[in-house]
């Protein structure tokens, strides 16, 4: 806790604020634009503050985008669950157990990530339309997981490599099965990494547009990224509503982010793995 509330600590806070302001400027610009009439920011001297604000965009967004927001939450949450359930045991095996073929498998996981999204989406559409998974939460969750599982495995495995093998093998000596070792040592110790992997899985699924637009027809479920397209036509775009929707959509996710980050900080596993 050294230096937390000293002058140098506050200096760093000030520097941090500057960094955040610079990097988040596009976001501010978006909020600014969401409160001004379309095209206002293209004027020779745009208003840096939305003084003549309009809440039109927000009115439109609120009246139509409630359902899509909920759909996105379900899909993103489901994706986190599926990704972790599949990635955790795999990462344990890849990081802690000895067998041939681990390297090719990791490599394969990376390579399959390079299949362009459109190819994946089109193929999944063909499979899903046979399985009845079009317009289905499960279908979207499974599709989004294709992007998040390899990622989650890599992150979890990298963290699990840092868990000394002696730790787990000691548990084995005490008579714990592999499954129990996994459940009662690996999983709790990896909490930090799980939050990281889960967080990004959530964000992946939240921001996905390609799968969302390909695997739904707009009849029953409609993720928020597709909902935004309601305001972008081929001949006109209601940027107020688009940006307002994006702002509103960021709110629940942002809250989740902050909470998750606290959890990362709270779950300091360094102590358990130390030396």
């Amino acid at each position: 806790m050294r230096g937390t509330r000293t002058a140098s600590g506050w200096l760093r806070t000030a520097a941090g604020v500057v960094i955040v302001v610079v990097l988040l400027f596009p976001l501010y610009w978006m909020i600014n634009a969401s409160l001004q009439p379309g095209g206002a920011l293209l004027r020779p001297n745009p208003d840096w503050l939305p003084v003549d604000g309009t809440f039109d965009g927000y009115r439109k967004a609120l009246s139509t985008q409630g359902g899509p927001l909920l759909d996105s939450l379900v899909v993103a949450g489901g994706t986190v669950l599926v990704s972790l359930v599949i990635a955790l045991p795999a990462s344990y095996a890849l990081a802690q157990l000895r067998f041939r073929g681990a390297q090719p498998l990791i490599f394969a996981l990376l390579i399959v990530q390079m299949i362009p999204g459109i190819v994946m989406a089109n193929s999944l559409y063909a499979v899903f339309s046979d399985l009845g998974l079009i317009d289905d939460y499960l279908g979207l969750i499974l599709a989004d997981s294709t992007a998040t599982i390899p990622f989650a495995i890599l992150v979890l495995r990298a963290f699990m490599l840092a868990i000394p093998r002696e730790l787990t093998e000691a548990a084995r000596v005490d008579g714990a099965s592999y499954w129990r070792t996994f459940r009662s040592i690996i999983v709790p110790v990896s909490r930090n990494a799980m939050v990281t992997a889960g967080l990004f899985s959530f964000l992946f699924a939240w921001a996905d547009f390609l799968f969302a637009v390909t695997l739904t027809t707009g009849r029953s479920i409609e993720p928020i990224t597709v909902g935004i397209y309601r305001f972008i036509g081929n001949q006109s775009a209601d940027w107020n509503a688009v940006l307002a929707t994006a702002v509103l959509a960021s709110v629940p996710a942002a809250i989740l982010l902050v909470i998750a980050q606290r959890y990362v900080v709270a779950g300091v596993t360094g102590g358990a793995v130390k030396e």
Binding site: G38, G39, A40, L42, R43, P44, K60, I118, N122, Y125, A126, V127, S129, D130, V213, T214, T217, G218, R219, Y229, R230, F231, I232, G233, N234, Q235, S236, A237, D238, A241
Partner: protein
Amino acid sequence: MSRVARHLVLGSVAATAMLVVTACGPSPATESSGEPAGEISELDYYADQQGSRAWQQILDTCSRETGITINRQTVPTDQMLPKILKDASSRTLPDLVFTDNPTLQQIASTGALTPLTDYGISIDGYYDSIIKAGTYEGEVYGLAPGVNGLALIYNEKLLAEAGVEPPRTWQDLATAARKLSGGGKYGLAFSAIPSEEGTWQFLPFFWSNGAELSALDSPEAVEALRFVTELVDSGAASKSVLNWNQNDVADQFVAGNAAMMINGSWNLARLDEEQGLDYGVVPVPAPEAGTDPVVALGGEVGAIPATGADRQQAAAEVLKCILAEENMLAWDTAHAYVPSRKATAEKFARDNPAMRPFVTEVETARSRTAELGERYPKVSQALATALQAALAGERSPQEALAAAQREVGRS
């Protein structure tokens, strides 16, 4: 056996061979109860709220009139064709499709569509150009409830301040645009993005000068491209046209950054909403006085895929209703399109004087696919690339178009 039915049989045989595609999909040619189905699915890309609402009203009206339930799907514009192709391969095509007219022949060439005349839909009284756009190999597969074209929209106040008359010829346009430029503002805004939208905006210059899509590197074509390039080089139009789609162009116009713009009638509703903006509309300037400009015909055509006789019959009932005069007028008024039947358009222009220049233009407008059919998209892409190369200063207009012609001739 009709050509379509033959395609279907061949299609199902091939599909059976393909593992994944098999299970679903009705076998259309066989089950004919003679009765129209009670519900159909419909696909369109009127995704923006205003357009979506107007279209929904037409669908509601026709659902009431025909007693057929319409399940509507809307996709973003650039997802339209991928979606139709996917649906075609899994035999889950919607019963009624409204697609951009230059893609119609492409879709018809798959064999998935049925001729509208099979259902007794009349093709009389329509503009020739829209019939041509909907025709593939001698059969009409698509008809539009409304069409559109580009015109020159100008800011009355800015033109009056500069003492400039709305331009009628290229010479006028160049002079006026230069006069209206300066101080971070530009005389003219248009779109030259590397896609169909860029080609569509360039075609009025290309065609009005007598160039043809079959010879992209003709002297007339080079002259047209040189004219547009000089507008940008002289600072009469921003170089950002390379990156502006038509929405952006309208934004620039509304923001007062451009005194004139090339854009479509659908913008008028939006321009009317802007307080303190007075605008006028004239046809796209022609190369010389006394000649008529030739613009490309825009608009979405309705088509009926082969999904089963009873469903097709129901889709035809709905399409007939949409094409009926009062519904056509309602849609075109709400969406600022021009009715696709001459007589209806005449009546429409009388009631909506602001639309007069667009109605006049549609009479001479050309279908983009009339000449080249399903080869059009490829040529269009090459032309858009040439436009980009010339405006970006990568190549001279001459070289850019020669390269485009080589590209098209390559296959």
